[in-house]
Symmetry: C2
Subunit: 351 residues, 2 copies
């Protein structure tokens, strides 16, 4: 236990929740978890089951450090990335940090914007993952049993069974089209790639060096004093030149030692307004109404009014969100495309 660390990744911008999410308040900082907590706060509560607070590190964007710190229990370390460089660089940097603090350290990687309610099952699975990682030089990924033909997740094809819910990874597969997603749901060999991992720091750095040597070398060569402040300065020296690539592409796809543990806990990536609404209570007309929401002659709609009234009249299967002084309206089926709106707004386009 003493060598166990947790890395919480909190640098995302979560634009599919526009206009609730904004660049300065991305999805992980929205009160989308139970009891009105932010997803980040709920993630940190899970992290606290796995490591003491000084061994929990939150990596986020430099401009989000203040907001992120407000969500953290005392002692948790918040480190700002000087620039965003995707997950391979972020996890590699954390591996270098943890490896210096304990040569035999291992760490869990937790995205900060997913929803998991069964904290006991979560804790038990991660305990087991840490045990596996301590015993063998493996890259352990968490797979989520697929329950629907999602086209917005990466998938993992399971290989040889090594134990209860534990398999070698046969293949990492990118987001599929609808036909392939249905086939993968049916074949019983595929899991969703949750983006949660457990591994030893040195095992990860070796795998990064094998997959992306030019990414691993500068991270391994970093030297610093003065604790996290010094580490942050060291990051500023190397990060801008690093390749922007996900850990899946840079490390896992070609790693011979990747395992997948099928999660025994619930999981939802809350990837859209539609996904959020599936967890909300509905009125007798099937509408989700949240905040100052008026729905007249509406069925199966999502109406959200925060800081002002959102009124929907005569709609079917639509999303109406009024929040942060802006409005989004789209069919529920288009909620995965909301990023196109936030892109347009950021870029000042009207159409």
């Amino acid at each position: 236990m003493s060598d166990r660390f947790v890395l919480v990744l909190a640098g995302g911008r979560g634009e599919r929740f526009w206009p609730w999410s904004r660049p300065d308040r991305p999805k992980q900082l929205l009160p989308l978890a139970r009891d009105g907590r932010t997803l980040l706060a709920a993630t940190l509560a899970r992290a606290a089951r796995l490591a003491s607070s000084e061994r929990i590190v939150v990596l986020t964007a430099a401009d989000l450090c203040e907001a992120v710190t407000k969500e953290c229990p005392p002692g948790v370390r918040v480190i700002g990335e000087p620039v965003a460089r995707n997950t391979a660089a972020a996890i590699g940097a954390a591996a270098a940090l943890f490896a210096r603090e304990s040569a035999e350290s291992s760490f869990a990687v937790l995205p900060s914007d997913h929803l998991i309610d069964d904290i006991d099952a979560f804790t038990a699975d991660f305990e087991r993952a840490f045990d596996v990682a301590a015993r063998d030089p493996v890259l352990l990924t968490f797979g989520i049993p697929a329950t629907s033909p999602e086209t917005n997740f990466g998938y993992i094809r399971r290989g040889t069974k090594l134990g209860e819910r534990l398999f070698r990874v046969a293949e990492f597969a990118e987001k599929p089209d609808a036909e392939r997603a249905n086939a993968w749901l049916a074949d019983g060999e595929h899991s969703w790639n949750s983006g949660m991992f457990v591994w030893r720091s040195r095992v990860f750095l070796d795998a990064l060096a094998a997959g992306r040597p030019r990414l691993a070398a500068p991270l391994r060569a970093m030297r610093w004093d003065d604790g996290d402040a010094g580490f942050t300065r060291a990051l500023a020296g190397v990060f801008p030149a690093l390749e922007k690539i996900s850990v899946d592409y840079a490390v896992l796809e070609n790693a011979p030692n990747a395992l997948v543990l099928e999660a025994a806990f619930d999981w939802d990536d809350l990837g859209s307004w539609g996904a959020w609404a599936r967890r909300q209570p509905r009125d007798s007309n099937g509408n989700v109404r949240f905040g100052e929401a008026v729905a007249i002659d509406c069925r199966d709609c999502i109406v959200v009014g925060e800081g002002g009234t959102a009124a929907a009249l005569g709609l079917r299967d639509m999303i109406v969100v009024h929040v942060n002084g802006a409005t989004l309206t789209c069919p529920t089926a288009a909620s995965q495309d909301v990023r196109r709106v936030s892109d347009a707004v950021r870029e000042g386009r009207r159409e």
Copy 2:
């Protein structure tokens, strides 16, 4: 000309433009006329063609006097009704006011929330109406040639022709259902009732006394000194007890001396967001975009963003209005029902 007055009725709440219109800023105070003027300001510009400013009286709600006065040219008189009592009482009070100022006065009644662009044709028609009213003891109403089967207007069936575009009224008809509206459009005998009138003050008071004696008597019995301030105090004494009834029901329906002059000018009552949008330019996808409006994959939509962004994604024939810190979304076809939303919001209902 010296005995001609104009009464502008500006007490309505115009709730079908919610959330743009609010109780403290009803439709007549919205910049819906050309050149960004309010409908009230445009109405007053027309009134100025018919009478000098000290003979133009605006009747409005007491709480709207300040906002209304800001729209008025110098000298125009603004009088606040102590309570709203519909058009029969308002016009009757004005008739009593004008009759005292000139025994032979006549006046035009102009709603303040309609759109009329051809001010020369308007002026010519009203000049003619004043001439007719000066010559004969008639109640002259303005009919609008029906061009579509509107179900939101009252209609006038034309009787004997008395002159070019001038007829006796055969019948005032209430808002029809769609079938009847189509029949009336086809029969060539019906005009829309515009709510604009011209008559002598005493002729109107006589007609009111014939139709609603208990409404006319207290208005005729009013005595006051100290100009409009005294008149306002006198109104406060009698208005609360008066019947709430429209001038159409109280006076015109049973009047033997009602005439209709078919207007030669354009007219739009701008009764809904849809009516407003018909006058706005559309983009190549048929969308009306106004203010901070984003429309992606949309066709034939109305998107309005004032004081914040309104974003529509993947919509057809929908209205999305974000203004005054609130949002309305409905199918364009439902824009006549927006009053149901403003009612619900005012009453604190959510559904």
